[in-house]
Symmetry: C2
Subunit: 184 residues, 2 copies
C-alpha cells in the first residue's frame, strides 16, 4: 500500500465519520436501551440529548402538575416528514410537581420535583409478543422517583393504556400538544 | 514523510475529530449569530438543536400563556459545573398561547401558536457598549410572530429589563424554573 493510498483511505475514513456525525440525529436507535427479554433502561441523558416535544400543565385543586415530554434525537424531524414515529423512537414523559408565585408576568407556575417517568419506545415490528409491557406498536414503561431506575409497570394495558385511549387514532400519542411535530 | 508517519498523523486527525465531536456540546458559540454591529439573527434551528431549560405556565383570565425556554447546546452542563452561564450561551424564550381541554389527566393546557420570542445571549466581555440592546452582561432581543425574523427591540432597558429585575441576583435569569440547571 503506497502512502497516497493510505492518506486517501484515511481521508475517506474522516469523511465517513463526519457524515456519520451529520446523520447522527437520524440514527438514534432506542433498542440499545432494551435487552433481549424486552426490559428497558430509562435513558440517563435525556435532559441533555433529547428534544422537548411539549409541556402539559394539568390544573388540579389537589396540586398542579407539569408533564414534560422529551423525544429521542431526530424524532420530530422524522415525524414531520413521515407523519408517524420512527421505529426505535423513545419518548420520556416526566410528571413533575409544580411551584408557583406571582411574578412579573402574572401567576407563574413552573416545574419542581419529578414524581414519575413514563417511557415509551416505538416498536413497529411486534418484537415482544409475549411480554405484557409491549403492545399496540409500543413498549410501555414506568419509573417512580423513590427508585428512579427501577421499572415498575407490570402490564401496559392496566398501567398505561387507559389514559391513551382517546389518542388511539394518533398511534396513542397526544400529538396536538407537541408543536414541533408539526412545525420546525 | 514515511507511510507509518502519515498513517499515525491521519489517525491523530481522526482522534482529534472524535474528541471535537464529543466536546461539541461545550463549544457552541452564539456569537456566530451576531454581526459586528451587535445585531443578532434568531437561531433557526433551536427547536431541533437546543435543549429545554423549562416551561412556565402563566395563568391569566385574559388567556393563559406557556413560555418555553431553550438554551444552546452545553449551556446546562456548563451552568451546573460553574454556577454561571458561559459566554456565548443563547437562550430563546418562546411565548405561546395555549389551548386546553378536559383530558384523561384532568384540565390539561398545552402550547399553541407562538406570539413572541425573546432571545438573550451571554456577553461576559461587554462587547457592544454603545448598542442599546446590550448591557448587564447580556444582549437582549425581541421577535414577534407577524415578522418572526425581524428584531424589534430598540432599548433593552425599556423593552426587556423590567421583567428581569427580581432575578438580578441570578444574573437576571429566573433559574429556579429550570431544573436541568441544578440536576442532570
Amino acid at each position: 500500500m503506497n502512502r497516497t493510498l493510505i492518506l486517501a483511505l484515511s481521508l475517506t475514513a474522516i469523511g465517513t465519520l463526519q457524515w456519520a456525525v451529520a446523520q447522527d440525529r437520524h440514527l438514534y436507535d432506542g433498542f440499545k436501551l432494551v435487552d433481549k427479554t424486552g426490559s428497558l433502561r430509562k435513558p440517563a441523558d435525556y435532559r441533555e440529548t433529547y428534544q422537548i416535544l411539549g409541556t402539559w400543565t394539568v390544573l388540579d385543586p389537589k396540586g398542579n402538575q407539569m408533564h414534560y415530554t422529551y423525544a429521542s434525537p431526530g424524532a420530530a424531524e422524522y415525524f414531520r416528514r413521515n407523519k408517524k414515529f420512527a421505529d426505535g423512537t423513545v419518548l420520556v414523559k416526566e410528571i413533575n410537581a409544580t411551584d408557583h408565585a406571582t411574578m412579573t408576568t402574572g401567576n407563574a407556575n413552573w416545574s419542581a420535583a419529578t414524581q414519575v417517568w413514563f417511557v415509551l419506545i416505538k416498536d413497529s415490528k411486534g418484537r415482544f409478543p409475549n411480554n405484557p409491557l409491549w403492545g399496540n406498536g409500543w413498549g410501555w414503561f414506568l419509573f417512580k422517583s423513590d427508585a428512579p431506575d427501577k421499572q415498575v409497570a407490570t402490564d401496559f394495558k392496566k398501567d398505561c393504556l387507559q389514559c391513551h385511549v382517546p389518542a388511539q387514532a394518533d398511534d396513542w400519542i397526544y400529538v396536538k400538544g407537541y408543536p414541533v411535530l408539526h412545525t420546525k
